[in-house]
Amino acid sequence: MAQVNPEFIDEVKRPGEFNASACMNCGVCTAVCEMGIELLPRKLFRYVLLGIKDKVLENTETIYSCLLCKMCEVNCPANVHIAENVRSLRYYINKKVYNL
């Protein structure tokens, strides 16, 4: 069973950055993902919002596979800053997992 950590979002969040609360879960981003990765970015962001930290950390390769090309972002009906959110997750992983 997935363990939920309500504080996880605050760990990832930097001032004015990670923000996916406007996401309506419509799936356009996943449909247009250039890498064809089903997790990107809708499910991934949902894991962050729900605080399912283990699921996020299980998918580090996916997080770094994102091209930051903004194809998803330009198609997002909720104007979520997807590329910046992915960069925020990388920042978090670099610090907390890779100790960089």
Binding site: M35, N75, R87, Y91
Partner: protein, 318 residues
């Protein structure tokens, strides 16, 4: 076994912190393109290459080594490599850049300088004092390392009294125009891509090329910096018929290049998909980013001819 993400990022970040570039380049190789052009040092307006074109032959050499060790037991040595890299630059041992590739990229930069001159723009260059912008480190989320590096880059511009920057590639344009202002208090540089400057100056063609090319837009120009019309205006002026492949303009598809440093195989697969799209509309393709150019050219395997936009423009406008 994939390349170890943390260690690979660590090496790139250590290089930026210790050696001012993700892959250090000897100063004479970084500035060779400007030889014989007589560009003055410094000035209020400078052509800022951000080293992207010069870095590509080095990135290529290192990527060849990465591809060989990706999915083998040798990746375990990257951890040791990171420790060694803090003392000695290990990328220098991972492959030598091809001389012909260096000559190709140097020619593109010289083209850009000559085009700007033709358009009546007065500009200088910082030669060996010019630093890499940190674009890859930004993408990888190493924001603290980038923030410190950005201060170094900005201090050099200030030392020379620079007020305007003319950039040559989309990634450097984005860094200097959209990322640095958030990192540096009081940032006051005006940044334009050379494509924007040439259109603004209304450069006039001297020859019509009568060619047809498929355009591959850069994701960064298209979706980060809104540079979409300039390349089409300049190519149309050059007498080039531009064919739009599936996924062009604002919705351009990516070349896969951003995945290259960590996942070379994924990058190659994406580039191949893009080549198929370009091939479906024309036998010649034009790019405006050195990363797009190198990735697509490798994936094209000679099936289509790709060229940097500067090589087209220089033939028409000079």
């Amino acid at each position: 076994m994939a390349l170890p993400t943390g260690e690979t990022i660590g090496i790139l970040a250590d290089n930026l912190r210790l050696r001012n570039s993700v892959l250090p380049i000897p100063g004479k190789n970084a500035t060779r393109w400007a030889g014989g052009l007589g560009i003055p040092r410094g000035g209020e307006t400078v052509l800022y290459t951000g080293m992207m074109y010069q870095l590509i032959p080095y990135i290529e050499a290192v990527n060849k080594s990465q591809e060989k060790i990706e999915d083998t037991w040798l990746v375990n040595f990257i951890k040791v490599g990171r420790l060694m890299n803090r003392v000695i630059n290990i990328s220098g041992f991972m492959g030598r850049p091809s001389k012909s590739l260096q000559a190709d990229y140097n020619k593109m930069l010289a083209n850009i300088a000559r085009l700007l001159r033709q358009a009546g723009v007065e500009f200088g260059y910082l030669y060996e004092d010019e630093l890499y912008s940190g674009a890859l480190i930004y993408d990888l989320g190493m924001d603290d390392v980038l923030a410190a590096h950005a201060q170094k880059v900005y201090a050099i511009f200030k030392k020379y009294g620079v007020k305007n920057l003319i950039t040559v590639d989309p990634h450097t344009t984005n860094m200097l125009r959209s990322v640095y202002p958030a990192l540096i208090k009081g940032y006051d540089l005006k940044v334009k891509s050379y494509l924007e400057v040439l259109v603004e100056r209304d450069i006039k063609p001297k020859h019509s090329l009568g060619a047809e090319v498929a355009i591959h837009d850069s994701c960064v120009y298209a979706r980060y910096e809104n540079v979409l019309n300039e390349q089409r205006t300049l190519l149309a002026g050059a007498g080039v018929k531009v064919s739009e492949p599936p996924g062009a303009g604002l919705f351009t598809h990516c070349c896969g290049g951003p995945a290259e440093s960590l996942f070379p195989k994924k990058a190659k697969q994406k580039a191949r998909e893009r080549v198929e799209q370009i091939k479906s509309v024309a036998q010649n393709g034009v790019t405006m980013c050195p990363i797009c150019f190198v990735n697509l050219q490798k994936a094209a395997r000679g099936e289509i001819k790709l060229d940097d936009i500067s090589n087209y423009l220089v033939r028409a406008y000079l």
